[in-house]
């Protein structure tokens, strides 16, 4: 007696090669026409509802295209031609604005129209394939699934389509389309001098990339130092947190250490507090008049009115940020390494002890290689995470201290915080987009090279 009712599930045969090209080559006239009049092949073969859904999608798309889409595509090419004008209104005695084209919206609607077109081409392929399958079944005298059967198949062989539909719509709307949009902006002149709706911006090709890399420009003079600080920061932050966290975990897990749970709790406490709370309070603690400076004054390390410029001197700011990041990151590493440490085979240690190895040697020759072997994927993620570590920099120093040599960047700005400033404060959207693309290129090379080598990618089915 099973829990599940046994249902009769007829199996609907599919042609062995149900691909778009085969459908076009081997299909009859109705099947081929289905690529252009969606659902035709289904309707003539009595799959009315399925056919009508295809047809409705097509009609909907063309209605959109003719009422709005063609204009949007035209504007997408030009990004608007009519500039906002001023007309003197004699009756009121003031200048009035006449509406012009909004380049931003032109670009946005263009991208949306292109995305919809891509979707419709996808539907066209589905329609053709569906017609081909139905034709095949008809010719072989096999059963043709009714609409009810189609719905049922969503729970069985088409479950993936059913479950993925909503998440993918979400991803398309909130990740893919915005991303394409921002990538396109990197090739336009959308900066603070070309702000819609007052001004138009236009396509400029690779000009922004040239500006970013050209010798002697202020942008290049900003980009390279910011890039090198980003890389230095990512390496130092990742390595320091990792090594120190590992040592801390070892210290707590030593045989001789008492009350392991208590010590662990003391460190976990700082992880449990929301990060922006710790970061904001750290910012006040290291403020020019914050408690750290107060303590130093009372201890007589610095004069009563002096204060150490933790966030206002470039070098101090960098060191302070790295130290605070260690404070934040070490307990994380301690948590994630504890379990793995306990898995290191004890025989390795015993053998090393018999050979007379000292504690540092054991750490260097056994513990560290083992941990690195297991945790390389983690290290890569935390490296890429640090390159994009917006919160720590933004909430602590805000990128400051600002520098006159830089193009709206501070000495501790990472590429991402600079991106934020360029877009939100400075409104140079095109430059921000260029930086976003460059960050992506860096991250993509680093992680694709390394991630593809990890075991979890190569044989994901190992435990199934």
């Amino acid at each position: 007696m099973g829990v599940f009712k046994k249902k009769d599930q007829p199996v609907y045969a599919r042609p062995a090669d149900a691909s778009v090209s085969q459908a076009f080559k081997n299909g009859n006239i109705m099947t081929r026409l289905s690529f252009f009049i969606f659902g035709l092949g289904n309707i003539v073969n009595k799959q009315i509802v399925r056919g009508l859904i295809f047809l409705a999608l097509e009609i909907g798309y063309f209605a959109y295209l003719f009422s709005f889409g063609i204009g949007a595509l035209g504007d997408f090419v030009t990004l608007g031609t009519l500039e906002q004008g001023q007309v003197y209104n004699e009756a009121l005695g003031i200048y009035e604005y006449t509406a012009g084209d909004d380049s931003m919206l032109c670009l946005l609607y263009g991208v949306i129209t292109l995305a919809l077109t891509a979707a419709v081409i996808f539907v066209a392929c589905m329609s053709g394939k569906s017609a081909y399958c139905t034709q095949f079944r008809k010719e072989k005298g096999l059963a043709v699934p009714s609409f009810k059967d189609d719905l049922k198949s969503l729970k069985e062989e088409n479950l993936h389509a059913f479950l993925l539909a909503f998440p993918i719509i979400g991803i398309l709307c909130f990740t893919v389309v915005p991303l394409i949009f921002m990538i396109l902006i990197a090739f336009t002149s959308y900066d603070h001098e070309h702000q819609p709706p007052g001004n138009l911006f236009t396509w400029v090709g690779l000009e922004n990339f040239q500006k970013m890399f050209s010798e002697g420009s202020k942008l290049a003079a900003t980009f390279w130092p910011v890039l090198s600080w980003t890389l230095v920061w990512a390496v130092v932050a990742t390595v320091s947190c990792y090594i120190l966290g590992l040592l801390l975990a070892l210290l707590i897990n030593r045989k001789g250490t008492k009350a392991k749970g208590f010590w662990r709790f003391m460190f976990v406490l700082s992880v449990a507090v929301p990060q922006f709370v710790t970061l904001l309070s750290m910012r006040t603690i290291f403020n020019a008049n914050g408690p750290v400076n107060v303590i130093l004054r009372e201890l007589g390390v610095i004069g009563m009115t002096e204060s150490i410029p933790f966030f206002t001197n470039p070098l101090y700011a960098k060191i302070t940020i790295i130290c605070i990041n260690i404070w934040i990151g070490v307990p994380f590493t301690m948590l994630s390494t504890t379990g793995i440490l306990q898995n290191i085979p004890a025989e390795l240690y015993e053998a090393a002890k018999i050979d007379g190895a000292s504690a540092p040697t054991i750490f260097r020759k056994i513990t560290l290689p083992y941990m690195l072997f297991v945790m390389t994927p983690n290290l890569i993620t935390s490296f890429t995470g640090n390159i994009n570590n917006f919160n720590v920099i933004f909430l602590l120093s805000g990128g400051g201290p600002d520098s006159m040599d830089y193009y709206y960047a501070g000495k501790t700005d990472l590429l991402v915080t600079w991106l934020y400033r360029l877009t939100i404060t400075q409104k140079d959207y095109n430059l921000g987009a260029v930086i976003g693309i460059l960050v992506f290129v860096i991250l993509a090379t680093v992680s694709l090279l390394t991630y593809r080598r990890t075991g979890s990618y190569k044989d994901e089915g190992a435990f199934q």
């Binding site: 479950l163 990740t175 309070s281 089915g461």
Partner: protein
């Protein structure tokens, strides 16, 4: 030999004690300042001259410009809705990627990996304009809907962790269900989900915590509508030039108030996380 071990043990314990003081002191300072009786921001001394609960009381009374209880409710509502939505997305995608085999599977996983590498808020401006185009930035309530969509819209991309968990559930269990006549949908709802409590709790809690700690997206979408702020932007506002003198101690009180539930949730997740990565049913 024995005394040497005793000395190293003592040194280790002293080291641990010093380190944990370093790690706990800032937190202690936050709690201490939240009870400080004197108003004003930075003081030339550490230990408060007097203690009071007024900071907490005033915080919960709220004021027209900085209304903490309202922010708290805003964040709670947004957190609940975005948790439901994104947990649904994540579980669907990770089940599909783990259990079902179809043509575009590898492609989808690679695309997800690549998309994850763009800086998140690079697309923020575009998202802002899309929401504006949809008319979701007209009123405060709609902005909250927009924020929920922003938090959960792309959630389907974060499926790796849950997929890894589903991968550890033996396929034989599924096959037994198929023989009993279960469809794949039945298997998903009635077998996989009940077996995946640790990872579901983990997903729920992590997505629930996101709105409490996100600053950037909330700020861009909410703009200046103070009464619809979430906790994170609200607390940040308290530290701004015009407010810091008056709200400095209340800021710390607010920090303590939201840290407590989040810390508890975090400690809960830790447990689920360990269970989650160590796999589901053995053999």
């Amino acid at each position: 030999m024995r005394s040497k071990r005793f000395i190293t043990n003592t040194i280790c314990h002293i080291l641990l004690a010093i380190l944990s003081v370093i790690w706990v002191l800032p937190i202690f300072y936050v709690v201490l300042t939240s009870f400080r009786a004197e108003s004003g921001s930075y003081k030339s001394y550490i230990w408060p001259r007097g203690f009071t609960l007024d900071n907490y009381i005033n915080l919960f009374k709220g004021s027209s410009s900085l209304d903490f209880p309202k922010w708290f409710m805003n964040t709670l509502i947004i957190a609940i809705f975005s948790t439901i939505l994104s947990a649904f997305f994540v579980l669907c995608v990770s089940y599909v990627m783990s259990r079902l085999r179809f043509k575009m599977r590898k492609t989808f996983m690679n695309i997800a990996l690549v998309l994850g590498m763009f800086p998140g808020f690079m697309s923020m401006i575009a998202v802002y304009y899309i929401l504006k185009g949809l008319g979701l930035l007209e009123t405060g309530v709609l902005k909250q809907v927009a924020l929920v969509l922003v938090y959960s819209g792309g959630a389907g991309l974060g499926f790796y962790m849950a997929k890894g968990f589903f991968d550890t559930i033996p396929k034989t269990i599924d096959e037994a269900a198929y023989i009993d006549g279960a469809t794949k949908w039945d298997t998903f709802i009635r077998i996989t989900i009940p077996l995946s409590k640790p990872i579901i709790t983990y997903t729920l809690i992590t997505t629930f915590m996101a709105p409490w700690v996100d600053y950037i997206f909330a700020k861009v979408i909410m703009g200046n509508e103070t009464s619809y702020y979430t906790i994170a932007i609200g607390l940040w506002t308290m530290l701004e030039q015009e407010f810091v003198e008056y709200y400095y101690t209340q800021f710390y009180a607010g920090c303590v108030i939201i840290s407590i539930p989040i810390a508890i949730l975090f400690l809960l997740t830790q447990k689920c996380y360990v269970e989650g990565v160590s796999g589901a049913v053995k053999g």
